[in-house]
């Protein structure tokens, strides 16, 4: 599977070389400014009425011609077919005259380039090559310490590894530059006859280009230094791939150079039947290049299968077939001289392969980065038994560390895919010469179609990129959210569980709308009315559903304010209960007796949240005046310690029960205040046990709770009559039963 990279690299290099060919062939001659005479003549001619009339006619005709051209897809197709027919007949003629063509060319060649001349030029070439090689060797000797250090050092982070690989390739390229400057520079310092010039220059260029390909392969595959390899393949595969790719590149470059030399020779000498000979040579070379490509491909796959036994032979066969088909098709279209179609097929084929490879590459890069990150993490700390609650929470957090790169994996993959597709799109546009970069007045159908396609693809890909990023980020947050277990307070991330799905839907709708709009706009549909209509509709809906909008908007702000979370105990305008569900419009709270209240957010003015951070609860005990307060303090402290040790809620107590001393004196007793601080929701249980514990310990230590009693003081010495006694006890009873002092608020759920 990985062997496919080889073909990709080779084909890309072919693309670069072949595309650079025609560009260098262009020559421009300088245009001189017109003389004064010319200008006078021109103005005189322009003033002539006949000339003006003729110009007008020409302009009209040109206009009709442009429209015809713009519309005539059919004509274009006809022209294409005609051209292909011409080409085929030329091929047939070449085929018929194939016997004498090489002879003819050989004869001409021998005539022009004699044996002596060839040997002499070879001598010169050798001298130049030695010069270039000498310079490169010198550069290498001076840069060797750096290179050796790069190859030997163990790099810790991927970034450093990549830098080292690039530096190493940069050194190799700099050496190559020295070689090129030395050899080609020395060559161009001499004067040459044109044929020799072309021959030698092509030879030197071919050597340089092949070595550049070799250096690029070195950068990516590093066949001998696995540490600096950018592409995730084994050493054997790296060597195989770089060797086959280099072999193919060499054949390709030599073929291109040879054809160029041949074309120049034909152009200079113009022999009889030279065109046919050139065609024959070109077709032959193309055949050789394609054959080499096929050979390299099959040999590469064969050896790769032996290197990785049992690694997806079926898919390997599929890819091999695909690439072979690609090569054969390219050859066929090249022979028929349908270059744009050939390039398109080649580009799209390479795109398909490279998308797959790039995906694997990005995956691997992320895998290594994550593995590095994991390796760098400290080992999980050993949990000690005496840890208190805060430390426990920390330990849990450390254990749940997720690597920081995972979110970016789909994004990176999409960015890479985006870049690949867009660049291939641009290359295709260049190949078809669509001129999408110029704003044509009357674009052709193809131009229109292509720019629409390109725009839509860009819009879709960018939207996809954004959507993936947002979705991964949101899903990650949502997956990390654990709904609170019964009885514990929900954390601050609870509101995210509410807001994030909403955000996701809103984002998706927005993105879809934007993509649809931009595609429509690139297709030439005027989207302004749609936008205007949508905004009118929006205003109408906004007025109609004013309160609904109010609910939604205030809901969002309540959530952002973190005023309440699911599971919290809140009070809103006399309504109390646990928040059970938060929707986009309303809030549902369940009263502790089961009733469910639904409150639209718009109605919420203020609210009280009982479940935040901590709760202080104060209790009071009434004891007689003769109680030993120090003993009380000590006993309460004991109770507090007991509570703290409770396995169920001990951890939730932030400050345990403690005495606050006498809070006030009443008519018949002292009021001893105690207080404790717990996490929200735990206070009821603690209070229950605190009451019980204090009562028990008071009783055990002989402290009585003060009871309401009435002392009846009787004046006089004589004993009371029964009636008097009854009246007194009735009065006392009345005094004790009435006017209960204010106790704690009955607020327990």
């Amino acid at each position: 599977m990985i062997a496919l990279r080889r073909a990709t690299a080779a084909l890309i290099s072919m693309l670069v070389i072949m595309l650079s060919g025609p560009v260098s062939a262009q020559t421009d001659t300088p245009i001189l400014a017109p003389s004064t005479n010319d200008i006078h003549e021109f103005t005189r001619l322009l003033a002539d009425e006949r000339v003006q009339e003729w110009l007008r006619q020409q302009a009209d005709e040109a206009e009709t011609a442009t429209t015809a051209e713009a519309l005539g897809v059919r004509d274009q197709l006809d022209a294409l077919i005609l051209r292909t027919q011409d080409r085929i007949s030329a091929l047939v003629r070449t085929w018929e005259g194939l016997g004498q063509a090489p002879e003819l060319v050989q004869g001409r060649w021998r005539e022009q380039v004699t044996d002596d001349r060839r040997v002499q030029s070879l001598t010169f070439v050798l001298i130049f090559l030695f010069l270039g090689a000498g310079l490169e060797w010198l550069f290498r000797q001076y840069s060797n310490p750096i290179r050796r250090r790069l190859e030997i050092t163990q790099f810790q982070t991927p970034a450093k590894r990549i830098t080292a690989a690039i530096t190493r390739a940069g050194l190799a390229l700099a050496g190559l530059l020295a070689f090129a400057v030395g050899s080609i520079g020395a060559f161009s310092a001499f004067e040459w006859p044109p044929i020799l010039f072309v021959l030698i220059l092509n030879l030197l260029m071919a050597i340089v280009v092949i070595r550049v390909v070799g250096t690029m392969l070195l950068l990516f595959f590093a066949p001998f230094v696995p540490r600096l390899r950018l592409v995730p393949v084994s050493t054997g595969m790296a060597r195989l791939i770089s060797r086959t790719a280099l072999a193919f590149a060499a054949v390709l470059v030599v073929a291109v150079a040879f054809r160029d030399v041949f074309a120049q020779v034909i152009e200079v000498f113009k022999p009889q039947g030279g065109e046919n000979a050139l065609l024959a040579v070109s077709v032959m070379l193309a055949g050789v290049v394609s054959l080499t490509a096929l050979l390299c491909l099959h040999a590469g796959f064969f050896i790769a299968a032996r290197l990785n036994p049992g690694a997806g032979s079926k898919s390997a066969r599929k890819w091999r077939g695909f690439l072979s088909l690609l090569i054969v098709l390219s050859l066929a279209f090249w022979i028929l001289d349908l270059r744009p179609i050939m390039w398109s097929i080649l580009c799209i084929g390479i795109l398909i392969v490279s998308l797959k490879l790039l995906r694997a590459w990005v995956d691997h890069a992320f895998d290594t980065a994550i593995a590095d990150y994991m390796a760098k993490l400290p080992p999980p700390p050993v949990i000690e038994a005496s840890d208190d609650i805060v430390a426990d929470a920390e330990v849990e957090e450390v254990a749940e560390v997720v690597d920081p790169y995972e979110t970016y994996r789909p994004i990176a993959q999409r960015v890479v895919r985006f870049a690949a597709i867009i660049s291939v799109g641009f290359v295709l546009a260049l190949i078809w010469n669509l001129g999408i970069f110029e704003s044509a007045e009357n674009p052709t159908v193809m131009q229109r179609l292509f720019s629409v396609l390109l725009d839509s693809a860009a819009a879709l890909l960018i939207a996809d990129l954004l959507w993936t990023w947002a979705r991964t980020a949101i899903d990650r947050r949502l997956n990390a959210y654990r709904p609170p277990t019964d009885g514990s307070a929900p954390g601050p991330e609870a509101r995210m569980a509410t807001l994030l799905p909403l955000l996701r839907v809103v984002l998706m709708v927005t993105l879809l709308l934007m993509v649809a709009m931009s595609i429509l706009s690139s297709m030439g549909v005027n989207i302004a009315p749609i936008l205007a209509g949508a905004s009118v509709l929006g205003i109408a809906i906004g007025f109609g559903a004013q309160s609904l909008v109010k609910d939604v908007v205030s809901g969002i702000f309540f959530l952002i304010d973190d005023a309440f979370r699911v599971g919290e105990y809140v009070e809103i305008d006399q309504l109390r209960g646990t928040v059970e569900k938060i929707s986009i419009r309303s809030l549902q709270i369940r009263h502790h007796r089961g009733a469910v209240h639904t409150l639209p957010f718009g109605e919420l003015k203020s609210m009280t949240n009982y479940s935040r951070d901590w709760v202080i609860m104060k209790l009071e005990f009434r004891v007689p005046f003769d109680t030993d307060l120090k003993l009380v303090k000590k006993l309460i402290k004991q109770v507090g310690a007991q509570l703290k040790e409770n396995p169920d809620y001990g951890d939730s107590i932030i400050e345990t029960l403690k005495s606050q001393g006498v809070r006030r004196m009443e008519e018949f007793n002292m009021v001893v205040g105690v207080k404790f601080m717990t996490r929200p929701g735990e206070q009821w249980l603690v209070r229950r046990d605190a009451y019980q514990g204090v009562r028990d310990i008071f009783e055990a230590n002989g402290i009585r709770m003060a009871e309401r009693n009435v002392k009846v003081e009787i004046a006089g010495e004589e004993a009371l009559t029964d009636e008097q006694r009854k009246a007194a006890s009735a009065a006392a009873h009345e005094a004790t039963t009435n006017k209960l002092p204010p106790g704690p608020i009955p607020d327990e759920p």
């Binding site: 001298i127 000498g134 060797w137």
Partner: protein, 370 residues
């Protein structure tokens, strides 16, 4: 430390000094060639001082003896060496060494025998021959020059790199190693152009001068001897390789497992030195003299060996003593373990050069790269 001269040490010295002598001659001769940048006449004017001094009675004999001994020592090295797949430089040196004599034969024998016959060939004659008369021979001269120079420089730099205080000097020599042949080749090319132009215009320079009276050059004999030398040297090289092949097939080898610094296991054979074993497994190891036992940078400390190791040779002991290696250290390039598993610690990091401060008396035992 004894100063006993073992055959290995003598051979090494002879190889180095004969090579240096030959290189000195080549350098001088190339400097003469670079006068071609001025003119062919200038080349001839400088000839007695730069080339003539080397072909006198004594110097000529010395040159001949050096060439012969260097050639045969080279063949011997090919035969003896455990592996030929060491590093690029060694392979280049081997190939160029084998090629030198066949390439040189035409030039050297032709000129010297013509001189013996009384025909003193000047640069104008040779340049005419090489560029106009027989361009193929001219092409071969360029090839020969490159091959000889590359071979000479490879040997020189391998030798110098094992010298501790050659560091600064090397950087200048590198420059010289490029300038000398490049200028010589450019001189040759310029002389050739001068000659070609003369040939096109029918200039006097391009005319073959009349053969002086009473001189008969035995051309047939020259050709015969040249052919014998060319074929003979090629046959000799082929025979050496064949003998080497026979030696390797007859040699019984054991598998050796090398472990360096507790790293991965490296499988090697008893026919290979430890350094070759490292290199075969793509594990870089310091070796400034390319495994010739001169520099001592490949030294390792033996931790454990299944079988007793062969005792060090005189040459190895000298080198170890010179670099002040600790007790129990061996040169990886000279040590051929007999078999089994050998665990060692590298004493110097793999990218060690003499510019790095040499660790004082006791080099760090770990030696792992930082």
């Amino acid at each position: 430390m004894t100063s006993r001269l073992t055959p290995a040490i003598i051979l090494r010295a002879v190889r180095i000094w004969s090579g240096l002598f030959l290189l000195a001659f080549v350098t001088s001769h190339l400097t003469n060639l670079s006068f071609g940048l001025i003119s062919i006449d200038a080349m001839d004017a400088a000839r007695p001082y730069l080339s003539g001094v080397w072909t006198g009675q004594i110097t000529g004999t010395l040159l001949f003896v050096s060439l012969l001994s260097h050639f045969f020592l080279g063949l011997w090295a090919i035969y003896v060496r455990p592996t030929l797949r060491t590093n690029t430089q060694d392979i280049v040196q081997l190939l160029t060494g084998v090629l030198v004599v066949p390439l040189l034969a035409t030039h050297a024998i032709g000129i010297s025998m013509a001189a013996n016959a009384g025909l003193n060939l000047g640069y104008a004659d040779t340049v005419r021959l090489f560029w106009l008369g027989a361009p193929t021979i001219g092409l071969l001269q360029v090839v020969m020059l490159s091959v000889v120079w590359v071979h000479g420089c490879a040997g020189l730099f391998t030798w110098l790199r094992s010298k501790e205080n050659a560091g600064r000097l090397l950087y200048w020599l590198y420059l010289l190693a490029v300038i000398v042949p490049v200028v010589a080749l450019l001189g040759y090319a310029e002389a050739g152009r001068e000659m070609l132009i003369a040939g096109q215009n029918g200039g006097e320079l391009a005319q073959n001068p009349a053969m002086p009276e009473n001189v008969t050059v035995p051309f047939a004999q020259i050709r015969q001897i040249t052919n014998i030398v060319i074929i003979g040297s090629i046959v000799l090289a082929a025979l050496t390789l064949a003998a080497r092949l026979v030696r390797l097939t007859l040699q019984k080898t054991q598998e050796v497992v090398l472990v360096r610094d507790g790293g991965p296991q490296m499988v090697s054979t008893s026919a290979l030195s430890m350094l070759d074993g490292f290199q075969r497994n793509d594990q870089p190891h310091a070796n400034l003299c390319a495994g010739r036992g001169r520099c001592g940078t490949c030294a390792v400390r033996i931790v454990k060996s299944d079988f007793p190791l062969p005792s060090p040779s005189e040459m190895e002991l000298r080198t170890l003593y010179r670099v002040g290696a600790p007790e129990g250290a061996r040169l990886a390039c000279q040590l051929k373990p007999a078999g089994g598993r050998v665990e060692v610690l590298a004493i110097y990091p793999a990218d060690y050069t003499f510019e790095d401060a040499r660790p004082s008396d006791a080099p760090s035992a770990t030696g792992a790269p930082a």
